[in-house]
Amino acid sequence: MLRPDTVALLSRLSEACGLAGDEGDVRAVLRETLEGQACEIYTDTIGNLICRKGNGPVRVMLDAHMDEVGLVVAGYHDSGLLRFKESGGLDPRVLPGRSVLVGRSKISGVIGTQAVHLLDRSERDKVIPAKELFIDIGARSRDEAASVTTPGDPVYFATRFERLSDTIVKGKAFDDRVGCVVVAHTLLEHDYPDLTLFGVFSVQEEVGLRGARVAAYHLAPHLALAIDATSSADVPGVDPPATSSHLGQGPAISLLDGTIVMHQKMREQLVTLAERHGLPHQYRRLTTAGTDAGGIFLQRVGVPACTMSVPCRYIHCPASLASLDDLSDTIRLAHLFLESLDKGEFTL
């Protein structure tokens, strides 16, 4: 079971706002959490928060990305409605009617669309493309809207973190704030004398695995483990082979994704450790999309890398569900992996 302060950290991170390129709030929460905890902590040129712990000979990068998917203000209609673009991969089916927060001053707004009774029958069955939606902040003119917002302002889903049961939590941006919790918890709780552990909270993953590439280049790790969130489509209407992962069945270990075939020995070591310690675990059955591991492994002369994810339902949506048991098991498996490296039980 997770400690209350770990859940509190997830809550804070989930409600912090951090679109790709605007990760400052998330970074501040993490820095505050980790400052003075026997780490060297700094922000690199592109905005990655790096926490180094230990000075051992084996250099390990433990990565989670700080950014989340959302929207960006792109311009105005004369009526004062805001045009927007997507930042990261969003599902247009889930946008209309959502409450959002616009800009750094978090102005409240709603993603608007035509009223349903204005649509003819055939239009009602169609998904409205994002470019036909707009954001309504109550402004009555272009000038009024432009006086409180600026094109480029980030737009966040106004979703509060909630605990739905003992084990299930709801919130926005679990992709990848759950990973941030795993990395932060590992740095706070454990020492690995034979490792130089780089906890990397990376920027701009959702728009092309950007921050992690830069971090892996300048940190030059010997190997890297990326902790991410992955979709859990165990809901009605999805064929069993397409479910990707199941909520509550433990960390989802990737075989491959659209950017990397995972390092086989690392992947097998994760499975071996999970089996040995009786930890629930599963394979991620989706083999597309990308994770930071794909950006990391091609840096310099190559970095063996693997991804392990916390299953989340409704990923890349305004609100996701995650299991605290899965989070706890992911934290544990990440630690077991690092411990096996630290003790020399596992080498590449």
């Binding site: 075989l255 491959l256 950017t259 075939v261 390092h263 097998e268």
Partner: protein, 337 residues
């Protein structure tokens, strides 16, 4: 060359699981090179120093990806069937009915799910049969993460050779042949690096860190490309010599490199073709080598292959020989770009 090809196509080596191919290539190459090693990602990197007296000899990186496309098991169903994803570029339409083998020789058969129409064929609507009637029996034969490959023997038509693994063991065979002939060439003033890269059947990947480490002056990639068959609008013809790729996905030949390749083909009196395409599947290691480090001028020679990216690619040994000859023609003389 045929013997090398025969050896290479029968080795198990899907993307991300290249160790056995790396081992065989290392054994084949070792007599012809000064140094050979496998890097952190599994790329085989070998070097033959031409012992030029110049203070900074010209350095060439020849590159062929050594992995092949395969079917990775993602789930074992309660009925004992294997769900899979394609790793790499195998066309789903070529899979139904295909016999496959797992790493330890576990036989399998790809079959369409019941009731799937031809137009709906996709890897998610197929399964691998391993002759198991429930999950436990199937798990004794294969587990998630195992990769199955189309049965790998070489079909020998004489000059033409067919095998699922020709993408890109054909390119690997060419590089081994270049090393063999280069070793016994009196003058080869450049330093030649031979790179057999990982995960190149999926995307340009392993070649990037290899090029970063080697920092060559010139990269030359050998890969297969789709040759004309019934009904296709492709210009590349099997048996008409290697193609100099002018344009591919994420790649445009630098004119200096294009000219170098064409000049060598003419000098060696070889038939050659040009390839201009932008199809997504034509991303070669060149796209990675070009942008690695501070950038590398890179050329691509493609071997015309009928049925490329299906389970029955066909190449011509004469094309392979000509490609080796073309590369040797370049390497025998001082290179200026």
């Amino acid at each position: 060359m045929k013997d090398t090809l025969r050896k290479l196509v029968t080795i198990y080596g899907p993307s991300g699981r290249e160790a056995a191919v790396a081992e065989e290539i290392t054994a084949l190459l070792r007599p012809y090179v000064d140094e050979i090693h496998t890097d952190a990602l599994g790329n085989v990197i070998a070097t033959l120093d031409g012992k030029a007296t110049a203070p900074a000899p010209f350095r060439v990186m020849l590159c062929a990806h050594m992995d092949q496309s395969g079917l990775i098991v993602t789930e074992v169903t309660p009925e004992g069937l294997l769900r899979f994803s394609v790793v790499g570029r195998l066309r789903a339409t070529s899979l139904p009915g295909q016999r496959v083998l797992g790493l330890s020789g576990t036989p399998g058969l790809v079959r369409l799910d019941d009731g799937v129409e031809v137009r709906d064929i996709a890897s998610g609507k197929m399964h691998i049969e391993v002759g198991a009637s429930d999950r436990d029996a199937a798990m004794a034969k294969a587990r998630p993460g195992d990769v199955f490959l189309p049965t790998a023997s070489l079909l020998d038509f004489g000059d033409c050779q067919s095998s699922p693994a020709l993408d890109n063991r054909a390119g690997c065979a060419v590089l081994v042949e270049v090393a063999r002939r280069l070793k016994s060439t009196a003058s080869h003033p450049s330093i030649t690096h031979f790179v057999f890269s990982v995960q190149g059947a999926v995307d340009p990947r392993g070649a990037h860190p290899a090029a970063y480490g080697l920092r060559p002056d010139l990269g030359l990639v050998v890969d297969v490309a789709r040759a004309k068959t019934g009904g296709s609008k492709i210009d590349l013809i099997l048996g008409q010599g290697p193609a100099i790729r002018i344009r591919g996905d994420n790649y445009i030949a630098p004119p200096r490199v294009r000219n170098l390749l064409e000049k060598a083909a003419i000098e060696a009196n070889l038939r050659y073709q040009f390839e201009v395409t932008a199809a997504e599947e034509t991303a070669s290691d060149a796209a990675a080598i070009e942008i690695a480090g501070a950038g590398t001028l890179t050329g691509v020679l493609t071997l015309p292959a009928r049925g490329c990216w299906t389970t029955s690619a066909t190449v011509s040994l004469a094309d392979l020989e000509a490609t080796a000859t073309l590369l040797l023609t370049i390497l025998k003389a001082p290179i200026t770009l």
